[in-house]
Symmetry: C2
Subunit: 487 residues, 2 copies
């Protein structure tokens, strides 16, 4: 690992003050014995610290109170039993606690932060001599997003809810860094950051928080200068020992987007070498035909999709990022001819080797897999443009067996691709249909993963482990405000 202390110090200096909002609910007044439950609804998604106050009913308590508490982000979790979850994501993320209180009345403050709208308290044990009542539940909600500075929504009234829920999602993920989700992983991921930052420029315009995150990624890299895909903040900033080919390249795009929104030339200049380094490292991963060698590229994310072949998407993402690098270098007055030649070579190779002329679709990998992902990224990379791109996306939709986006993150890129090739109305309808289906299910924030065709399915083996407030799902606010706003 290579640490840049000056960069990490800059990140530390940019650490935001969290804004604390106090909320309080009264208990129902119901007298609770062992086995009884009480459900509390805070009315919206919150991230913060909870205090539960119990009082006893009946004789003086002659045994401890033992209770469990579970924090739900969404009604989608209500039917789940935590003990039945056996998926591959650690069950340690399930927001359930068990507590003994030796004395009543007692206001118990949980030391951990939770993300939730609903709280279910279950009495596990009292004694025959007494019962309890939940007197109140206090909440210190935290976020670094300042709602007083948020740009008002000027779009259509019918889009207000879509915008508001996107904004709430972003708000909840804005903490000491841009987190991917306040329930899980509570961590700074580059793929999420890129999209969050775009939504942020249209809403809170908190440039410092983006800048802080860029310095965190640039301040701790792999030995060769490769940017990690995520960073742990506590006990002190430290990158996770993993990278993804696409996420490293997105450092370039995220830096460019930041400069475009903020005009902060100093940061652009200081972080340009980090961006350039991602290009240099990725450049070495191509074969002589200018096609990406996946053995050299290493892990690529693209989407949560087990069977997806990612080669063609990764090739396109490389071209996409290089286009941002060209703009970035031009803004600094550098010569970009080499970069442009590189883009041209990789674009040519994509058309020549990653395109099936019979199917009229881009293909990926040795098994020539057809996926929507590949077509979407080819459009975003400008490998095909305008009418050609529109027709490609049209064909893609009717292509049987083509792998489809599995996450709002990938759907974002589909919407973006439609807009880029002039299908603004279709993009709007697709966006309304996808995120609208979550709204129809009562979402207060947008989900990490959602398939409208199978809304009850869980790719993780249980909805109790899902993140129902996930950064990469907040971009309707970006699209609505940037492309569909009347103001």
């Amino acid at each position: 690992m290579k640490k840049n202390k000056a960069f990490l110090d800059r990140a530390e200096a940019l650490k935001p003050r969290l804004i604390v909002t106090q909320k309080e609910l009264s208990g129902s007044g119901r007298v609770l014995k062992a086995g009884d439950e009480e459900l509390l609804d805070f009315g919206d998604h919150y991230t913060g610290y909870v205090t539960v106050e119990f009082e006893s009913v009946g004789r003086h308590p002659d045994a401890p109170l033992h209770f469990s508490i579970i924090f739900y982000e969404s009604t989608e979790e209500f039917k789940e039993k935590p003990e039945r979850y056996h998926g591959w994501i650690s069950p340690a993320w399930i927001q359930e606690e068990r507590v003994h209180l030796d004395l009543l009345p007692c206001a118990w403050r949980f030391p951990r932060r939770y993300a939730f709208r609903y709280i279910k308290i279950k009495i596990l044990a009292v004694s025959s001599n007494f019962s309890v009542r939940v007197k109140r539940v206090g909440l210190e909600a935290v976020s670094s997003a300042d709602d007083s500075k948020r740009i008002p929504f000027r779009g259509k009234a019918e889009d207000e809810r879509l915008d508001a829920v996107s904004v709430r999602t972003l708000h909840e993920c804005m903490q000491e860094v841009f987190e991917d989700g306040p329930k899980r992983d509570r961590r700074l991921w580059l793929g999420d950051l890129r999209l969050q930052a775009l939504a942020n420029y249209e809403t809170y315009r908190d440039f410092d928080l983006v800048r802080r995150c860029l310095y965190l990624f640039a301040g701790d890299t792999f030995e060769d200068g490769r940017v990690a895909n995520n960073v742990f903040i506590h006990p002190e900033p430290e990158i996770d020992e993993q990278y993804m080919f696409d996420y490293s390249l997105f450092f370039i795009s995220t830096l460019w987007d930041y400069y475009e929104a903020s005009g902060d030339r100093e940061t652009l200049r200081e972080l340009e070498p980090t961006a350039m380094r991602q290009f240099e490292l990725s450049k070495a991963c191509f074969d002589r035909k200018h096609v990406l060698d996946m053995k050299k590229a290493g892990p690529v994310f693209v989407d949560w999709h087990r069977l997806l072949d990612k080669q063609a998407s990764a090739q396109a993402i490389y071209i996409y990022a290089l286009q941002d690098l060209v703009k970035l270098e031009q803004a600094l007055g550098s010569d970009t001819r080499e970069l442009e030649r590189e883009i041209a070579a990789k674009t040519e190779a994509a058309k020549k080797y990653l395109y099936d002329a019979r199917k009229k679709l881009f293909i990926s990998g040795a098994f020539r897999q057809v996926s929507q992902h590949t077509q979407i990224w080819m459009v975003l990379a400008g490998v095909v443009k305008d009418a050609e791109a529109r027709e490609l996306l049209e064909r893609m939709e009717s292509a049987a067996f083509a792998a489809k986006p599995a996450t709002p993150y990938m759907v974002h890129h589909y919407i973006d691709a439609l807009i880029r090739c002039g299908e603004k109305q279709k993009a709007y309808e697709k966006m309304k249909a996808y995120w609208g289906a979550m709204l129809d299910r009562g979402a207060d924030t947008f989900y990490e993963t959602f398939d409208p065709a199978r809304p009850d399915a869980s790719p993780y083996g249980g909805k109790i482990i899902h993140s129902f407030c996930h950064a990469w799902s907040c971009t309707p606010a970006y699209f609505l405000r940037k492309y569909y706003s009347e103001g």
Copy 2:
């Protein structure tokens, strides 16, 4: 309830400073994944506050650590599954916690006090990227018993362990008050206090702690002046809304024992009205034949024995307490002729109406139940004495179907009865056999309940709920030092 503020203030002023002893164990160094357990052995019974320190192994932790911890007083609990306990005592007493730690390394201090020798930590969840190690477990053991002031044991070497385990039991129960058990109920009970105080006079000689407890009982009584059977100390001293006929009377004996040991005449004078009031209230519970009317007497404890008829024992306990009241009044120079007449009348009635001349055993209740309890208490009350008493206890032992002591509390009274009627050697053997059987099972402290004939049975439906360090079981130290000491 009738509060005497002056008495409660006196009790508050006598609140002891707890002596804190620091202990520390290193973890085994084993790398733990989900499902793995680590057992730590502190080598003796302790009561106090625990800090567990974990460190991570492998990659940076990318999920919380979820673990459970269970505190065992005794190996007798090892086989028990907390979730399988469904007895009548609240499962809230089971010393098991579940905790999530978001950051590692972490030293987590549990806010509650536990009573234990063994700690079992079980990893419930980590992630696939990391494991954990228990680095150390710290303990702040607390007790108000000052071992530096304890009178050394001067008995036989072979009795040292019996004395030491008794003393440890007492030590662990000496906290802000004399507790019945540091695991359960952690509370001041008059029946336990009386025996603890006796053991205390031979060991720690902490008169202030007994005095404090006497003032707590006298400072908060029922409206008519009846002393409660137990007192809650937190959040502020308050009696439990229940009394037992025998426990109320034991206030007299406990006060007399205290005076006899301490010579504290001021306390005797101040608390004499409370003692006298217990006599007055109990006196009204007899019928015209001077036999106790159980409807008037209300609840009586005597022993944990569901089928025991308690009438005759209660009659004897009344006589027993009145004998202490006579000594108490004489010490204060009062006329005791009325009291002595009362003792004589009740003794006569016991012999006349509660004795089966055919069986040559005392009987109790409408169904003329024969129990060991009744014979024991008749001897302790002096209803029969010397050779007559020795023969009664002899007959009692061979009497079929006679209910037997169920607790060390009742066995204590049997030993005491044997000593009183001159069977000192037999008393010694019985004591060695009963408490010795617990020592043979590896006891570090003596149990609340123990039946040598069925050592694996649990009257509560599970040993996980037992108190394995219980005040009323600490009296071998009293007997050994008072009756069998060479010094």
